[in-house]
Assembly symmetry: C2
Homo-oligomer: 430 residues x 2
């Protein structure tokens, strides 16, 4: 046909120019093309635990009623199904032993979206102009780091220890930014408050109120938003998790608490939710109106049924048992195969929930994607996430090269044992 | 508690400052609070036609197989389910009597998203910087106008007649922009090519190739994207619809063809798709990676089953019969109640598909939301979409005040008859 001439190029926007490929996509494609590889990289939930039979029963009942079926198959609302938002608010308050009134919150402060990632994106979009500053932990969740890059945000990071983000370090950073006259550019502090991705570390109970106080004290020019990403909160399988940071934000002003159905129930339904400070809700709804004017209503009806019938809670109890066993297998295998390796320089986290263990090796060992250890691990038949991916682009810091994220989410107990054994072989060959 | 002091304000981004409330949200809330109101406003599909029984059968079969159930409940991919994209490419090519090879397209050129709206948003986001120019029809789909406002786009409009967008008018506008040195800012031409929202008009077959030629001739500095929004294409119930504009873009370079499952099957599954020029695909996937890294996989598996089993096509055939009857009722009622009203100054479109009839009244009649006719129509017990909402903010043009969009999507045949009768009463009381 006539249209096959050489065309000129598209002229992309500044935003498109800032977007970067998620580093994890390379790892994903490796796992797909090499089926013998044991991947301890993917942060997916365990395929075997997905609630197929539960979904079938719930849908059968839901769709047997023609009116209910049609309502679920019709458009929903931009902010999400009202009954589900009511249920979710009670659920969130209940996790903290509180009522919605204690949180000074109404169902209209809840937004349902296509995963909590979409809420992360929207909150960033409505608050961050290029050059604005977002503070994250060091290390932190790397997909959000990509979102910040596309938004043109400057990233500054705060050290963690075994209790999570260190309040004094956050205070020092904010003080330093204030001294530099940069406080007006600080828009968001982001942290994963339970079983953090990538470290598995939970923010200590006695740090929660102090972090909120520090944030409030530095909200002089304008309010700084604390995004409390609690994606792994309900996957706690040891001890009682601390109260959310949100539970201390009693006027519903500073904290956006994000949770999701992807980890505790099913990622295929792609439904997350957030309890937002009231004066952010309208701006988020306006953005969502432009994105998609509402996430899949059908999935929201299914999840409402799962919550109301107790199926959600029963499934979660079972999940916790299974993940606890897998975490145990990973910690046991690490002790067995790496317990005597470079003592004092090799250590790993012992998460009380979630999907991740974070391993630190001696400083001269390079875990990077282009380094020798990653290649040897692939040769041995296992894959991990190089720690280098998990550190935001803070220009004042040097990315450590000797860490890795190990996930016990997807692999079976046997694969976990074998995967750690293979990893140890790769490490000892150094 | 201690956190209830007066907090400072959030500092919103420039983008948030540009977002505007969709005017339609007021109309939606009216319809909800006034159940006796016959709404010919909402552009929703007919609740009665939604495929509840079909979905139940498909899901029962799908979820009876544990492996298939788990796959559907697990994460999908950012770009969408590969098998569905393969099916959709063949489907799109088939609608034009072509093969994928004829379109020089592969399944990797298809993106699945949370409705075609999300693809509209992403294409705009990757191409448009504030101040860039997007060309739309006069009138055009108002949700996209809101997206353009949030993006900071300048909107320029092109006249339509009964054959849709007038190629000569598009050529004149692009020529004028070129003379003004503004061609480097023109990024997108947007048009709804079948049964347009809001007019119901289909772009004439003999205008399709000329519009593509004009676009190509003005893609000197950079390539201008033509977004062909074909949301209503499959809801054609009279005659054969013309070939898509995309079908003339044989090198897959200039046209993004967007379709959706929301109109022909179920909006609750919130799944749309686009066939994109190959050199836009990566940028869209990167954006989607930041938004949500993939739309609900579960819905995509259900839709794949609907297409493969023929359920989708059978449902669509039935839909066409039902909508044809409703369009007939609306046109008949308009002829009965307004056929003799202000002859020569009152006219309406006769769509061959879709959901909309566009009514033009004498120029001195104000159909606006704040005008007397809208209030009288509500008093009489019906609601329409004021035409004023459907015109982009082109500074060189004056928005007509004497038009309205009437939808036969949601209302029953009886409600349509009654709604038009009520509208005619409101008009005659002027």
């Amino acid at each position: 046909m006539e249209m096959t001439d050489q065309a000129s190029q598209f002229a992309f926007s500044a935003r498109a120019g800032r977007a970067t490929r998620q580093p994890i996509s390379y790892l994903m494609s490796q796992a797909v093309t090499n089926p013998d590889l044991i991947s301890l990289a993917a942060g997916l939930v365990d395929y075997q635990t997905l609630p197929g039979a539960e979904a079938r029963d719930l849908l059968n009942e839901m769709l047997a009623d023609p009116a209910r079926a049609r309502t679920a198959l019709q458009y929903g609302t931009t902010e999400g199904l009202a009954e589900l938002r009511t249920e979710l608010l009670a659920h969130l308050a209940g996790l903290d032993g509180l009522t919605p009134a204690d949180l000074n919150a109404s169902p209209d402060d809840i937004i349902v979206a296509s995963g909590s990632q979409q809420i992360l994106f929207m909150l960033t979009d409505i608050l961050v102009d290029p050059g604005d500053i977002v503070i994250t932990a060091w290390p932190s969740y790397f997909v959000y780091t990509g979102t910040l890059a596309a938004a043109g945000a400057r990233v500054r990071c705060v050290d963690m220890d075994s209790g999570g983000m260190i309040p004094g370090a956050l205070e020092a950073l904010l003080g330093q930014l204030a001294d530099q006259g940069l406080l007006p550019r600080v828009k968001i502090v982001y942290l994963v408050s339970y079983h953090q991705n990538p470290t598995g570390i939970t923010l200590a109970a006695d740090r929660r109120q102090p972090i909120l106080r520090i944030l409030r004290e530095h909200s002089r020019d304008h309010r700084i938003l604390l995004i409390e990403d609690a994606a792994y909160r309900e996957l706690t399988f040891e001890g009682d998790p601390p109260r959310s940071i949100k539970s201390y934000d009693r006027a519903n002003q500073y904290v956006a608490l994000l949770q999701t159905f992807s980890k505790p129930f099913s990622p295929g339904l792609k439904t997350g939710y957030g309890l937002l400070p009231r004066d952010l809700v309208e701006a988020v709804i306006l953005q969502k109106g432009n994105h998609d004017f509402g996430s899949a209503n059908f999935c929201q009806h299914l999840l409402l049924a799962a919550m109301r019938t107790g199926v959600y809670q029963r499934h979660l109890d079972e999940l916790r048992r299974q993940y606890a066993a897998k975490r145990h297998a990973m910690l046991e295998a690490l002790a067995e195969h790496l317990g005597d390796f470079a003592r004092g320089q090799t250590h790993w986290t012992r998460p009380s929930g979630g999907l991740y263990v974070y391993l630190t090796l001696p400083e001269d060992m390079d875990t990077g994607r282009e380094g020798p250890l990653f290649a040897r691990a692939i040769e041995e038949g296992m894959m991990y996430v190089p720690g280098e991916y998990c550190y935001g682009p803070d220009p004042s810091r040097t990315v450590p090269r000797n860490t890795m994220r190990l996930s016990f989410g997807v692999a079976s107990v046997d694969q976990i044992r074998q995967g750690i054994e293979r990893l140890a072989r790769a490490i000892r060959k150094q």
